[in-house]
């Protein structure tokens, strides 16, 4: 019950934000979510929390419609690692895995806003809808037909059948809804895009499971009642945004 209620609230808030907020506000919102997600990630990998700043910075610059100045951020990251290691005396591996928060959480959330800036809420909802359909069809098809585990060492509950179900239904959603939301894009492109988004989404899901397994936690945090943390909600999205963004950038 708690899970359902907070799930509905989450969807309502997300929808309202995408439909009614101006780009500037969406940018701030994405940075806030990136900060929470990066915080959870940094906790998991036991890296200094202040790398949240990097994730927010990358989210901010990625959210612009124009291509972000990547070099600038990479230089910032380099300086960051140098200072953390030399001045604060943190282990290199720990610091570098903290810098990854920017790439893992900051960039995709920023790119999601860039999608909105480039092609409006139609495109943004198309991507989020595809991920939602993918997540739920994986779950239900897996529960009904699931036999063979997909990645037993990472996530025992995921099955190959579920993944196939996600690919089939969510790609179908991408093609059908895409024809409505982006009427000038051909079915062929939408089909390929659907497979990419769903496939990478599943990878994102598994990646986060592996992350948590390594740290021995079940949820990334308990921020959202019944759903775990921010990362648990956006895990598939984080990997699915980049190909979708590249496609949108290409048609804009």
């Amino acid at each position: 019950m708690v899970r359902l209620a907070s799930g509905i609230a989450l969807i309502a808030v997300t929808l309202a934000a995408i439909l009614f907020l101006p780009i500037a506000a969406l940018r701030v919102l994405a940075c806030l979510v990136a900060a929470l997600g990066a915080y959870e990630y940094l906790e998991i990998v036991e890296s200094p929390i202040r790398a949240v700043v990097l994730a927010v910075a990358l989210c901010w610059v990625s959210s612009r419609a124009s291509m972000p100045p990547a070099q600038l951020l990479l230089m910032m990251a380099l300086l960051w690692v140098a200072l953390e290691v030399l001045a604060a005396d943190h282990p290199v591996a720990q610091v570098t895995s903290g810098v990854f928060a920017a790439v893992y959480v900051g960039m995709p959330l920023g790119l999601l806003v860039a999608v909105h800036a480039l092609q409006g809420w139609s495109a943004t909802l198309l991507l989020l809808g595809t991920i939602v359909v993918s997540d739920s069809s994986q779950y239900y098809v897996g529960r009904m037909l699931g036999r063979r585990p997909l990645a037993p060492s990472i996530s025992p509950k995921k099955t190959i059948e579920g993944a196939v179900g996600g690919l089939v239904f969510a790609t179908a959603f991408m093609v059908l809804a895409g024809a409505r939301m982006l009427p000038f894009v051909g079915y062929g492109s939408l089909f390929v895009l659907g497979l990419l988004v769903v496939g990478l989404g599943i990878c994102g899901d598994l990646f986060e499971s592996r992350l948590k397994r390594t740290a021995g936690v079940k949820d990334s945090s308990s921020l959202i009642p019944g759903h775990g943390g921010v990362l648990d909600r956006v895990d598939a999205l984080l990997f699915a945004v980049p190909p979708f963004y590249l496609f949108i950038r290409n048609i804009s």
């Binding site: 409006g120 809420w121 139609s122 409505r180 939301m181 009427p183 000038f184 290409n250 048609i251």
Partner: protein, 262 residues
């Protein structure tokens, strides 16, 4: 509006001032329709991607809309996107749609300030939902304006419009013997609007391209070699002057002048 309105907007001493003084303001075309052609060619001449031509075309739209409104033209109809344009690469169409959205957002205040009413003709329901939203907002916000009516043809096809009108007439239960030209016109997207007096096409092409097929029956056609991104106030005034030199006969002999008659 009037000569004074237009002159107030033109810097004094500007060459356009002389042109404006040649206009007969009592014989203006009531409805001007424009086929905005040549964006792609304009870009190609500069070795730029086609979309840059569309981007540059926005300035021409801005200038033409304001000129027409100040001139006192009652209806301006621009051909922005035809049903056949879907065949263009997705990247070009995607950019066009976003340009449209940006134009609406940035120009809404100008439209309101000039008391312009915005309308869309064409099958709007096939456009992306966020674009439809934006269009509805602009239509709604300018619905109280009493000045120039500004139609934008989007996902428009002249034949499709006639088919849609026939469908609507049938759905309204019009009996065959009741249907005449006037009644039929009331089912078109442009119901209640006067037919174009002047049809302008840029970029030198001598084609109608499925534009306002029913409405341009007696329109004067003016073709200029100017590419759309280069089209400005001066070119619109030149087209109006050329129109005012023509003798409109509507199929009669017209030895007595019905020049530019409304």
């Amino acid at each position: 509006m009037s000569r004074e309105d237009l002159l107030a907007w033109i810097p004094s001493g500007h060459a356009d001032e002389l042109l404006v003084r040649e206009i007969h303001f009592d014989r203006l075309p009531v409805h001007v329709a424009i086929i905005m052609d040549g964006n792609g060619r304009w870009a190609a001449q500069r070795h730029l991607p086609r979309v840059e031509g569309h981007r540059a075309g926005i300035d021409a739209v801005r200038d033409s809309v304001e000129t027409a409104a100040r001139l006192g033209i009652e209806v301006l109809t621009l051909y922005a996107f035809s049903m056949e344009n879907w065949k263009r690469p997705a990247s070009e169409v995607g950019t066009l749609m976003q340009l449209l959205k940006r134009y609406l957002r940035s120009e809404l205040d100008t439209l309101l300030r000039n008391d312009i009413r915005f309308r869309v003709i064409g099958r709007m329901e096939d456009l992306a939902p966020d674009i439809q939203d934006e269009l509805h907002a602009a239509i709604q916000r300018t619905s109280g304006s009493r000045g120039m009516l500004f139609n934008v043809a989007l996902n428009y096809g002249g034949r499709a419009e006639i088919v849609d009108a026939a469908r609507r007439a049938m759905a309204a239960g019009v009996r065959p013997e009741e249907l005449d030209e006037k009644r039929f016109a009331s089912f078109l997207y442009t119901a209640g609007q006067p037919d174009p007096d002047l049809l302008i096409r840029t970029s030198g092409e001598m084609r109608v391209s499925n534009y306002l097929l029913w409405q341009i029956a007696y329109s004067e056609i003016y073709v200029t070699d100017t590419l759309w991104p280069d089209f400005r106030r001066r070119h619109l005034i030149e087209a109006v002057l050329a129109y005012q030199k023509r003798e409109r006969r509507y199929g009669g002999i017209g030895s007595r002048a019905v020049i530019g008659a409304k």
